[in-house]
């Protein structure tokens, strides 16, 4: 895209005649793909949330029979899988797509068609996995699908096949996205945008993309072993043949723990944008925030077996993973103190975005604290696989990730749509969500330590946990009200929101220098940057670039080959469900045709 062309920005009469749907199906514009990711993720948030509510109804009293054990097992598996792979990751990727190119002063991502391919593989893979509900055989092995329960012997149905094939497809999409963002951030920064001048959100996107690029292949390997065991009779996890189910656990958590940071670091990035903007102060200790993020990503590779303290690894391994896990609390703590120091002495404006950001810091800290309790490996033997863990990771993921993302949504919505979200409704929905979250998950710490294991569709009234469980159920519905109000706000504000200008918050970073919503090519001329807070310190010069005469540029044309190829890729995975050896061949042929046409498609 950096090549010189004589394309006149804004003049695309042929595209204007085509329908909106066709436009979205063929778009390679990072902003539209970002919106596609965001909307899909919010739909899956509704589905995953509905699954959670059904489970909470079942657990609202002991020995309840609202749903069967089998359905419950499918629901908790799909709730976890959905929230991690179909909500947490794509909603972060939605913001990467929309915001990162704007923040670094680029016209698009490095590989726009690959970006479209990532999205369509993600969407088709997600639909494929959820289609399992329609045949009554949704995945039922838990979101970490421990071998050897997932073997053909103990899980003879299609459930685990849907899971393994669907996740493999989603992994392909994520790895492509990782490649795209690493390349974009390294190569497409505006002149003068040195690494240590990048906004914190872009930095976290950069680190996250590295983690995606390195961690997802480990999951792919594990899933290949599982798929081979299930389809072609290999024996990687079969103990009767000398295989070892522990291999799955090590591979899965070697992916799974970096995955936790893949989920949380983007939210850290958002909080680090929102807090300085609404405190009217630059981020406190920028360099340390960058280094601590990188350190968390790095140490995140050395702690995976803290998910496995109960497996009997022996005291040496337990001691090592205890210490490495506790060490990761230090850079995380530094981030929290730096956020507080950013606000300290500032002029804190408590709008909805800022409320979410501050609530995220407080709630995430609670999740961090129970995380250190968790790392206390001897007592981890009491906590693990109980509701204490469920409480812990929901505090981390809802407290850190979801609250941070909702803050980011309120923050960037005016940039994306040109309108503000309603503040009054925003605050009402915030309080519902925030109080509901704590009402659901705070009691779960006790539910767990008083003896309730996770993943049980029923519990004995002997346990004495009726009241605590009922509290969590009520809290779940309070949260749901908050989320529904947020959705109402998102849709109503599209039409009725107050108009926002270019930089309604008076923020410092480059995305606020363009129109809201930005023009297709983002900037008339790529601005040159001389500082970390360009719109605070060098606004005139930046705006002269962004709104001056357009420089010659080349924007990539739309293409339908990404969606065609994505259909081929996911279709091939899906066809493995048909029990004849040649079933996937049409899928391979379709994919091949897609790739071939893509390769020969003119892009000028």
């Amino acid at each position: 895209m950096a090549t010189v062309d004589t394309h006149v920005p804004g003049a695309a009469p042929a595209a204007a005649r085509r329908s909106v749907v066709w436009d979205l199906m063929t778009t390679v514009d990072h902003k539209k793909i970002g919106i596609l990711y965001g909307v899909s993720a919010l739909v899956f948030l509704l589905i995953g949330g509905l699954e959670a509510l059904i489970m909470r109804i079942q657990l609202s009293r002991p020995e309840n029979d609202f749903i069967s054990a089998d359905l419950y097992n499918q629901l908790f598996t799909m709730h976890g899988t959905t929230m991690v792979f179909l909500v947490g990751m794509p909603i972060a990727v939605a913001f990467f797509n929309y915001i990162v190119p704007l923040q670094i002063g680029a016209r698009d991502v490095a590989f726009p068609r690959l970006n479209a391919l990532s999205f369509w593989i993600f969407l088709f893979g997600a639909i494929f996995m959820n289609a399992s509900f329609f045949v009554g055989q949704a995945p039922n092995g838990g979101w970490f699908g421990y071998a050897n329960l997932t073997s053909r012997t103990y899980s003879p149905g299609l459930n685990i096949d849907f899971w393994a094939l669907g996740l493999q497809a989603l992994g392909v999409a994520s790895i492509m996205g990782g490649i795209n963002f690493v390349t974009t951030i390294i190569n497409l920064r505006a002149p003068g945008m040195r690494l240590m001048r990048m906004p914190l959100f872009t930095w976290m996107a950069f680190i996250t993309s590295f983690l995606i690029l390195t961690a997802l292949p480990v999951l792919a390997v594990a899933l290949f072993l599982l798929t081979f065991d299930r389809f072609w009779g290999t024996l990687f996890f079969s103990t009767t043949a000398g295989g070892d189910p522990m291999l799955w656990q090590h591979l899965f958590w070697l992916f799974g723990h970096p995955e936790v940071y893949i989920l949380i670091l983007p939210a850290f990035g958002m909080i680090s944008e929102v807090i300085p903007t609404f405190s009217r102060k630059p981020l406190f200790g920028y360099a340390v925030m960058v280094y601590s993020g990188a350190l968390i990503g790095l140490i995140g590779w050395g702690v995976w077996a803290h998910h496995m303290f109960a497996t009997g690894m022996g005291p040496i391994a337990d001691a090592y993973f205890t210490i490495s896990t506790m060490i990761i609390a230090i850079p995380t703590g530094v981030k929290i103190f730096n956020w507080i120091a950013t606000m300290w002495g500032g002029s804190v404006r408590l709008n909805t975005a800022m409320l979410y950001a501050i609530a995220a810091v407080a709630t995430f800290t609670m999740g961090g604290v129970s995380g250190v309790m968790h790392a206390t490996s001897p007592h981890n033997l009491q906590q693990t696989d109980t509701y204490f863990v469920v409480a812990h990771f929901h505090y981390v993921l809802l407290g850190g990730l979801v609250l941070g993302l909702f803050g980011g949504l309120y923050y960037w919505y005016p940039k994306i749509t040109g309108r503000f979200m309603n503040e009054r409704l925003g605050k009402i929905s915030f309080w519902f969500y925030f109080l509901g979250l704590h009402l659901t998950f705070l009691p779960m710490h006790w539910t767990g330590l008083l003896g309730m294991p996770r993943r049980v569709f029923t519990y004995s009234s002997e346990l004495g946990l009726d009241t605590l469980n009922l509290m969590s159920t009520v809290g779940g519905f309070v949260q749901a009200v908050g989320v529904l109000l947020l959705f109402v706000n998102v849709f109503r504000s599209l039409k009725s929101g107050e108009r926002a200008g270019r930089n309604p918050w008076g923020a410092a970073t480059l995305e606020w220098a363009t129109e809201s919503p930005p023009v297709e090519h983002n900037f008339q001329k790529i601005p040159t940057v001389h500082s970390r807070e360009p719109l605070w310190l060098e606004r005139e010069r930046i705006e002269a670039d962004a709104f001056g005469p357009a420089e010659p540029m080349h924007m990539p044309p739309s293409s339908y080959w990404p969606i065609v190829t994505a259909a081929g890729v996911v279709g091939t995975f899906a066809l493995f469900l048909v029990p004849v050896w040649w079933a996937p061949l049409p899928g391979f042929a379709w994919t091949f045709i897609g790739v071939l046409n893509w390769a020969y498609e003119p892009t000028h």
């Binding site: 005291p315 210490i323 501050i358 604290v369 003896g451 009726d466």
Partner: protein
């Protein structure tokens, strides 16, 4: 073992108070609480937890206080000057890196000590019990004593117990919270190392008598939620008596033939025994000192003394045992035992009539 005598007790009291307040379940007994340890193992875990709890809650309170202070002191006010632009303060940042590092040390040292003390090797005279996890029940084998039982097992108070645990199928996790932390019960790969090298272990000394509830803590398939077990800690005399009553001497006791002559006056228990020993029951189940020698299903010696049917599926009663025999899946979806009319897990239906079911149940409940 690290020792925190007085301060620990204070924390413990505060913690229990907090639990009581937050749970609002005034006076309810929590059958699987981790807060009331009854073994040295569970006790050691609790102590190290309370240490970590104290430090981390302290940090949490600090962070929350700072956040509130920010919200009170630094709210945006009309006409206030633009805040001073501060980019950082190296000394402060070093401070809040070093202090957490020191706190982590205070947490990590007792933790790592406890890692080693709680995974000690068993003493030579420890009572060794083999625990085998099955979908979805527990088997306990006292090899030296010649006792096999299921879903409820006895241990002597004050004597070291060594559980050696493996699984017959998928991964389970043995967890009796009041006796200590959980350990996964793994299927052991067949290989050169042999089974002994890869079994998992728990070593503990029970300090109080009582019946302590536990349940499987690793998701293990459809009926994972209904895989309870009961650990009964008794004095060494009671334990010896229990062993004696459970021991299989190898000689099948002569069946007390009820005989058809007794007619309508017949004893349903004796008839039930006759039916049990002559039908398909014995293909899977064993009862000490009878001709029932099946090994696929739970051993039913002194079955009637267990508190539940089907590893927690229903309380022990004549009615529930009948229902279980008629249709195990009606009490526990997924159960692998065939019912009277329905096959399960590849086993054909037992074909027992309602009358036979009533008598077999009477027999089994009578085995106290």
């Amino acid at each position: 073992m690290p020792h925190f005598p007085t301060s620990w007790r204070r924390w413990h009291g505060a913690l229990l108070l907090a639990v009581g307040l937050a749970a609002c379940t005034g006076g309810t007994e929590f059958a699987q609480t981790t807060f009331h340890p009854v073994s040295d193992f569970a006790d050691a875990l609790n102590r190290v937890f309370i240490n970590t709890f104290g430090w981390t809650i302290g940090i949490l309170v600090l962070v929350l206080v700072l956040l509130v202070a920010v919200l009170v002191r630094f709210r945006e006010r009309p006409g206030a000057p633009h805040p001073r632009q501060i980019h950082g303060n190296t000394r402060l940042e070093i401070l809040w890196t070093v202090i957490p590092a020191v706190i982590v040390t205070f947490i990590a040292v007792p933790t790592v000590q406890a890692v080693f003390t709680t995974q000690r090797r068993p003493a030579a005279d420890a009572l060794e019990i083999e625990v085998i996890g099955h979908q979805w029940w527990w088997e306990f084998r006292y090899a030296a004593e010649g006792v096999v039982t299921a879903n409820q097992f006895y241990i002597p108070v004050g004597r070291e117990v060594h559980l050696r645990m493996t699984s017959a199928d998928v991964i389970h996790s043995f967890w009796v919270p009041r006796l200590g932390g959980k350990r996964d019960v793994m299927p052991v790969p067949r290989g050169a190392e042999g089974v002994a090298a890869r079994a998992n272990h728990i070593v503990f000394v029970a300090s109080e008598p009582g019946r302590f509830r536990g349940q499987c803590a690793e998701y293990c398939g459809e009926a994972h939620a209904i895989m309870a077990l009961f650990s009964v800690a008794v004095s060494s005399d009671e334990y010896a008596a229990w062993i004696e009553s459970m021991r299989d001497t190898g000689a099948a006791a002569a069946p007390a033939e009820p005989g058809p002559a007794q007619g309508v006056q017949s004893n349903p228990v004796a008839e039930g025994r006759q039916i049990f020993l002559s039908k398909t029951c014995i293909a899977c189940h064993a009862i000490a000192n009878t001709t029932a020698r099946g090994i696929i299903g739970p051993n039913l010696t002194r079955f009637g003394s267990r508190p539940t049917v089907g590893a927690g599926a229903a309380p022990m009663s004549q009615e529930n045992v009948e229902q279980w025999i008629r249709s195990p899946q009606s009490l526990k979806a997924g159960a692998l035992m065939p019912g009277a009319q329905a096959a399960a897990a590849g086993f054909p239906p037992t074909g027992l009539t309602d009358d036979e079911i009533r008598k077999v149940a009477a027999y089994l409940v009578s085995l106290r």
